[in-house]
């Protein structure tokens, strides 16, 4: 059925349903290999009530909705409609930071709030959020956390969805209900605040963990209209260290130990291409810088906040040096061409606009398997003629070092049909190989969803049951995941 | 005492199941973490101390009746007291072990004594021993040793060999060793030989009240007549009977020593010198009745009282038997004083020791269970890397030896006195 918006216009003004072709086109495709498809409208609701009305209308009219919280460019195909005549629910306008509670270190934000907005606002209160490595400045914090993008500080990643705590959700049933602790209280944040209730505890309500059902869901279960996020103190002193290695296996045990003992804030590993890409603004200089860098760098950020921050930093630095020594590793503070300032900027900065297209392959694994994954992807690259030196690799300990986000970024020239075709083969072949060797595509975008749910029919079946309950009309981003 | 006296304990059981485990604080591994052989073998909750409290309540309240299965749950237990120690860590004044025995008494009174145990009791009655052996042969082990016979002579110390050491040919060497040690140390002692009678302790554990009382009265009378002030025994079961039960059932005031206590004292005082090296790595098994159940008897005749409204305590204060003050150090110190002996501990030691499996009539009534229990201990001993498992009770040693033999283990089993003898 063609979406008929007239019955909605008392709630959402007609002029907030946009269908000018360039706009529609901008939502029809992203940087992934997912097939393009034009939506019917883009709409920009501003309130929970409007989102709810939209969902209820979509249920009645069987209109597919694709929720989008970040401004582009999108990368993974999750915001590209999979079925025709979809309405894009553009939530970027719902961008209020509703509350920052310094004492309890929790903030409540709307989905349109970006990292570029949130980080300085928090800093103003002496707070910070553990965020992904160089997020897009316009990336929605809520979307990033819902998609379980890895965050930089494994110590604070008590569970994979951290620092996401509670969500307000307009479910695919047309109902509004809060997740977690907030699900126990009145259906109004203001009322909850008046009662002294926080939105801290992620579990629940009751025997269900509703938040867990909207994470990793690509907007297929409900539309999140607010979220609470856990915060930490903004450091007053800080140092970033580098530990060089010729082979990732050399730093593996060190990373294990760092995350085991919870030493350090940011802990992650980059290969030379990725490090160079991140610190060198001039594209033309990157290859040379990369060539001069060690093959791998373990980055460790230390900081001090609260009481005795300087002494905290000093003790941590001493412990870090002792720990590195256990593994015969040397602790440095950068390299020629990678200054201390570059390193701090890398941790705090936003990513630059892409100069080249790139295909990302990322998944979760355990650290002991990472060297094998690297070898596999390199062998696939070699086989199909992809320049291995261009391959950017990033390994991020998650869940306090129990799981690791492993990311291969393969820049290529999308305009070159031969390269694009090669990339598609590399992407598929590498993904196939990786999954065989135990890579866990926990965020199965695009091609991966077939791969993952094809092997895991059990999860697919249960998720379809859950989807049938939470989105009975299958209006929320249909065609994604296993739906 | 009767099971009714433990109704409150049953109602106060928190079903925490601590009684199934060794004291949690002391746990060192998955493999050797269990405390109760009965629940490990029988599995249903009723095979635990807590479960038996519930069975008692259920039977008292007429909710259920004694079936064969129920009888098994009640008697397939070593009465080892591990549960009692673990329970009392938190449930300070609960008495699960006593309650379980009273439950046995109830079943026995109602005619549910397992047949194998009935045979033992019959043997006790007719032959004054638990082994079904003719009473005339009781003194055979000592016939040629020329020891004072206290049925005719007098001595301040009586050596009580006990049923196993008296009758079991494979084991009676230990009794001979014991008396040799006593002689060497110059102790003035005697024995009753063929007229020695069972201590009665095992029948008590099986759930009978009268035999132990009878044994106590008979033995005490004989001892008094012979001028005995101290009874010494190498058997942990006898030790427990004399030390804990006789005062209770017959007002005994006689001094009771286990051979390890006496020998350790003699070594400490320099009356015995252990000089010959015995090069051996050994681990020591605490017999339940010498270890956690070997605490001194404290007479008490009082009643429950409440303080702070509802907190339960006793008037006068009731003695606590929780294994805190069992005989643990004497055997260890004795072993360590033997040159060449390296003592290593099993994970479950002292009050947390795993039972040998021979207690509570289990050896007689549930031999498979009993042997399984022993086998568990053998594995634990082997895990220490010891060459030998040393104990201080003939029942433990018998069960272990059987288990070692059947299981084809290399581990040697000794009574502690055998090592002392080698070192003399």
């Amino acid at each position: 059925m063609v979406a008929n918006i007239t019955e909605l216009t008392t709630i959402i003004a007609e002029d907030r349903f946009l269908d000018d072709p360039p706009l529609l086109k901008s939502f029809a495709q992203d940087a992934s290999l997912v097939a393009p498809l034009r939506p019917r409208y883009v709409t920009r609701p501003e309130t929970v009530e409007q989102v709810q009305a939209l969902v209820q209308w979509a249920m009645r009219t069987k209109t597919p909705l694709v929720p989008v919280s970040s401004k582009g460019p999108h990368r993974y195909g999750d915001t590209v409609p999979s079925v025709a005549e979809a309405v894009i629910v553009d939530l970027t306008g719902m961008n209020a930071i509703k509350r920052i509670d310094r004492r309890n270190r929790i903030a409540v934000i709307e989905p349109g709030v970006t990292y570029a907005e949130l980080i300085p606002a928090l800093a103003g209160e002496g707070l910070k959020i553990s965020h992904p490595l160089q997020p897009r400045a316009n990336k929605s914090v809520v979307a990033s956390l819902l998609e379980r993008q890895p965050t930089l500080i494994p110590r604070l990643n008590y569970s994979l969805p951290e620092p996401l705590r509670n969500c307000g959700v307009v479910w695919g049933t047309g109902e509004v209900a809060f997740t977690g602790e907030a699900g126990n209280g009145p259906l109004s944040l203001d009322e909850q605040w008046t009662r002294g209730q926080s939105q801290l505890a992620a579990w629940g309500p009751n025997a269900t963990d509703l938040m867990r059902l909207v994470t990793g869901a690509q907007g297929t279960m409900g539309i999140v209209v607010w979220a609470s996020v856990k915060l930490d103190l903004l450091p007053v002193v800080r140092k970033v260290f580098t530990i060089a290695a010729a082979d990732i296996a050399q730093v593996t045990d060190c990373v294990y130990k760092l995350t085991k003992v919870g030493l350090g804030d940011e802990v992650f590993v980059l290969n030379r291409a990725r490090l160079s890409q991140m610190v060198e603004a001039q594209a033309g200089r990157r290859a040379a810088l990369a060539a001069a860098l060690p093959e791998w760098t373990l980055v460790v950020g230390l900081s001090g906040a609260a009481l005795l921050p300087q002494q905290r930093l000093a003790v941590q630095e001493k412990e870090l040096r002792a720990l590195a020594q256990e593994f015969s590793l040397t602790v440095g503070e950068g390299y020629p061409g990678v200054s201390r300032t570059d390193l701090t900027a890398m941790l705090d900065g936003f990513c630059r606009p892409d100069e080249r297209a790139h295909q990302d392959i990322f998944f979760l694994s355990t650290l002991d398997k990472v060297a094998g994954h690297v070898a596999s992807v390199q062998s696939v690259a070699l086989r199909y003629g992809y320049p291995v030196a261009d391959m950017e690799i990033y390994v991020q300990p998650q869940h306090q070092g129990v799981s690791h986000h492993v990311e291969f970024r393969l820049p290529y020239d999308a305009a070159d049909a031969r390269q694009a075709a090669m990339m598609e083969v590399v992407y598929h072949t590498a993904s196939d190989k990786l999954i065989e060797e135990g890579a866990y595509f926990s965020r199965p975008y695009g091609y991966w969803s077939e791969l993952v749910y094809g092997r895991d029919r059990n999860s697919a079946e249960i998720l379809r049951t859950v989807k049938g309950i939470l989105d009975p009309e299958n209006i929320l981003n249909p065609g994604k995941l296993c739906f | 005492m009767s099971i009714e006296d433990f109704r409150a304990d049953a109602m106060r059981c928190s079903r925490c199941a601590y009684c199934k485990w060794m004291p949690l604080d002391l746990m060192k591994s998955w493999r050797f973490s269990k405390g109760c052989p009965s629940i490990e073998y029988g599995n249903f909750h009723s095979y635990s101390a807590g479960g038996r409290l519930i069975t008692a309540l259920s039977l008292m309240d007429g909710r259920s009746t004694v079936t064969d299965k129920v009888r098994d749950t009640v008697f397939m237990c070593n009465m080892c007291g591990s549960c009692d120690v673990s329970c009392k860590i938190c449930r300070y004044d609960m008495e699960p072990l006593q309650a379980m025995r009273e439950l046995r008494v109830k079943l026995v009174e109602e005619g549910h004594l397992p047949a194998a145990l009935a045979k033992c009791v019959e043997s006790l009655k007719t032959n004054h021993n638990m082994l079904g052996a003719p009473k005339e042969r009781r003194g055979d082990w000592a016939k040629t040793l020329g020891i004072k016979d206290l049925s005719r002579e007098k001595a301040k110390v009586v050596f009580h060999a006990g049923c196993r050491y008296s009758f079991d040919g494979e084991q009676s060497g230990v009794a001979r060793t014991a008396v040799a040690i006593l002689k060497k140390a110059g102790v003035d002692f005697g024995i009753f030989g063929a007229t020695e009678s069972c201590c009665g302790g095992r029948s008590y554990g099986m759930g009978l009240n009268d035999p132990v009382k009878h044994c106590a009265e008979t033995n005490l009378a004989k001892w008094h007549a012979a001028g005995v002030e101290t009874v010494v025994t190498p058997c942990a079961d006898c030790y427990y009977a004399f030390k804990r039960l006789y005062p209770q059932v017959a007002g005994s005031q006689i001094k009771v020593l286990h051979m390890v206590e006496l020998v350790e004292q003699l070594v400490r005082d320099g009356q015995l010198k252990l000089t010959k090296p015995v090069t051996m790595k050994v681990t020591y098994h605490d017999p339940c009745h010498l270890g956690r159940q070997g605490e001194d008897y404290v007479p008490w005749n009082g009643k429950e009282k409440k303080i702070f409204g509802q907190a339960v305590c006793y008037d006068p204060p009731r003695p606590r038997y929780n294994g805190a003050f069992g005989v643990y150090e004497a055997p260890r110190s004795l072993l360590q004083s033997i040159p060449g002996v390296e003592l290593v501990e099993m994970e479950r030691n002292r009050e947390a020791a795993w039972c040998c499996g021979a207690g509570g009539g289990a050896r007689e009534a549930y031999p498979k269970f009993s042997q399984w229990t022993a086998g568990e201990r053998i594995e634990e001993a082997e895990a220490t890397g010891a060459d030998a498992l040393v104990s201080a009770c003939p029942w433990c040693e018998k069960n272990f030896s059987d288990s070692v033999r059947h299981g084809g283990h290399k581990l040697k089993v000794f009574d502690i006195l055998q090592l002392v003898e080698q070192a003399l």
Binding site: S442 | K306, G323
Partner: protein
């Protein structure tokens, strides 16, 4: 109430005849449960009796028994270590198989590097802790103590304890589950379901675990968890706990890189300030308010008596009257235990300095007597191993936890005076242990990293004295009324009481919740995964449309 012979025979064929019973006395040992006397007719100590008890050994056996239960329409009620009245069948005359999982007792995998273990339901915390400590690792032992099942705390029930402040709640530490649904399907969640190993509990895509591992878990009401993977924490202490002393007050020496303190506060405001200080400064390997479970009036007298193996509870009476002990007790009245740990001497010294600054700033202090070697070592033992959990019952054999609303510290301090006053009033009858109105115990945080906690009132009563039992019930009801009147969410006592309610009453209560979405969701999940209704309302639901109009009028 007998199970059909056909069904019984079929179960025997699955698990072996020695692992199933329907002997009434044996069944009674499962019907007897903690708290039963507070809610059962005539204060019976027995919950409804299961019709048979079955002990499967493998997941396949659990599945086969579950399928059979579907065929014969018999409810199933799994227990692992099995504690609480709701672990037993909830209703009389309802055919129920109790699945006692004690034979599923293996540690299936231990991955030292990736810091997880895979365990079956009857592995208890103390066992796993002892094993992983050998490798410098630890587990978060929940408040229920180390005699309890890890699977239960990670998959099926609340998962917080004294170490959750640093190690997280076991719901956070859960890395994957194996679940036999009431319909008899075997489900695995997270990475293991993708064949990638047990290291991640989320995804692929949305996390299936979300349908059961909520706040309390499904408590045996929605099938059986047959294994789970649990994340392990760092253990900077020795490879084996070298415990000293005699029972019951075992002691654990405090290593050089540890500190064990009891911190006192002059009032609840200072307590909260001190809490925020500790929270902001991320101090605390273990953070717990433990000893007050004995009641603020008697705690010092009890614990100093307890650690002396020559004493008895009678000595508490004398001790409580001793002016010196009274003085200590006043210092410790509003107090909590804090264990610090570090990997270097610099690290621990710095933590000490930071703590001292917090104490100075907030007017809080170390309670000296509790920090003396004997008490510190006992505290260390108690909280590291959690092997004294059932001291909860020490006074009279009965303990019921009321209150326990959790939230941010600033909020918790607002309900504390009410909780104290209500309890104190109920003690006046002399039918509850008169230990002071503040018998509030609780972990420093139920959430990893801190910032969220709640206190549970330890109500001690005598289960063998019906008057005392009734007084406890009265206290529960008083607490509910007080909460209602003061607009405080209901505490644990409300959940306990509900066990006795008819379905309709429970549904009416659920329908009055401010948000009922989840109960409708759970109904649909139940319809999908438990078509024959084998699970009970420990996984609660609202019948379709139940109380919708009435409830919306009444919503608070």
């Amino acid at each position: 109430m007998e199970i059909s012979r056909d069904a019984y025979r079929a179960i025997e064929d699955i698990v072996g005849p020695e692992f199933v019973t329907d002997d009434p006395a044996l069944l009674d040992s499962y019907a007897f449960q903690y708290l039963a006397e507070l809610i059962r007719p005539e204060h019976s100590h027995f919950m409804p009796r299961p019709w048979a008890v079955v002990m499967p050994r493998t997941t396949k056996e659990v599945q086969a028994v579950t399928r059979l239960a579907n065929k014969y329409k018999i409810k199933i009620k799994p227990i692992s270590t099995g504690w609480y009245h709701w672990a037993a069948p909830l209703k009389d005359n309802e055919p129920t198989l109790q699945l006692d999982l004690r034979r599923m007792n293996r540690i299936l995998d231990f991955d030292e590097k990736n810091r997880f273990a895979v365990v079956e339901p009857y592995v208890i915390c103390a066992q796993l802790q002892a094993e992983v400590m050998k490798h410098g690792l630890n587990i978060n032992i929940t408040g229920a103590g180390s005699s309890c099942s890890i699977v239960a705390s990670a998959c099926a029930y609340f998962g917080a304890g004294p170490s959750s402040f640093s190690m997280g709640n076991n719901s956070d530490n859960l890395l994957g589950q194996e679940w036999v649904t009431p319909a008899g399907e075997i489900v695995r969640t997270g990475s293991v379901s993708s064949g990638a190993g047990w290291f991640c509990s989320e995804g692929p895509g949305p996390s299936v675990r979300g349908i059961t591992r909520g706040y309390l878990g499904s408590r045996g009401g929605l099938g059986t968890y047959t294994k789970c993977a649990i994340k392990l924490a760092d253990w900077p202490g020795p490879a084996s706990l070298e415990v000293k002393g005699r029972p019951p007050g075992y002691r654990l020496p405090v290593p050089e890189n540890f500190r064990v303190y009891t911190i006192g506060a002059p009032d609840w405001d200072s307590f909260a300030e001190c809490y925020y200080g500790i929270y902001d400064n991320t101090l605390g390997y273990i953070f717990h308010r433990q000893f007050n479970l004995a009641g603020a009036d008697l705690a010092t007298a009890l614990w100093l008596t307890y650690i002396d193996p020559t004493k008895t509870l009678n000595d508490v009476e004398t001790a409580a009257a001793d002016p010196e002990i009274k003085a200590i007790n006043e210092k410790a009245r509003i107090s909590f235990q804090l264990i610090l740990a570090a990997h270097s001497s610099d690290g621990i010294e710095l933590q000490d300095k930071i703590l001292d600054e917090i104490l100075t700033a907030t007017g809080c202090y170390k309670v000296e007597r509790y920090c003396d070697k004997d008490m510190a070592e006992f505290t260390n033992m108690y909280l590291q191993r959690m092997g004294h959990k059932h001291c909860n019952f020490i006074w009279a054999g009965g303990y019921m936890g009321s209150w326990m609303q959790a939230g941010k510290p600033d909020w918790v301090k607002t309900y504390v005076p009410t909780a104290i006053e209500t309890f104190k009033n109920d003690q006046d009858s002399g039918l509850l242990v008169q230990c002071g109105g503040d018998a509030l115990m609780g972990c420093g945080s139920t959430l990893a990293g801190g910032g969220y906690y709640g206190f549970e009132q330890f109500v001690s009563y005598d289960p063998a004295d019906i008057k005392s039992v009734k007084a406890c019930v009265k206290h529960m009801e008083d607490a509910v009324v007080t909460c209602r009147e003061k607009g405080i969410p209901y505490g644990k006592e409300y959940l306990y009481l509900q066990v006795a309610w008819p379905d309709e009453a429970v549904w009416n209560a659920l329908a009055r919740a401010p948000q009922t979405f989840v109960f409708d969701f759970q109904r649909k999940i139940k319809e999908a995964f438990d078509p024959n209704g084998l699970g009970d309302r420990n996984y609660p639901w609202l019948p379709e449309g139940w109380g919708k109009s009435a409830a919306s009028a009444q919503k608070e």
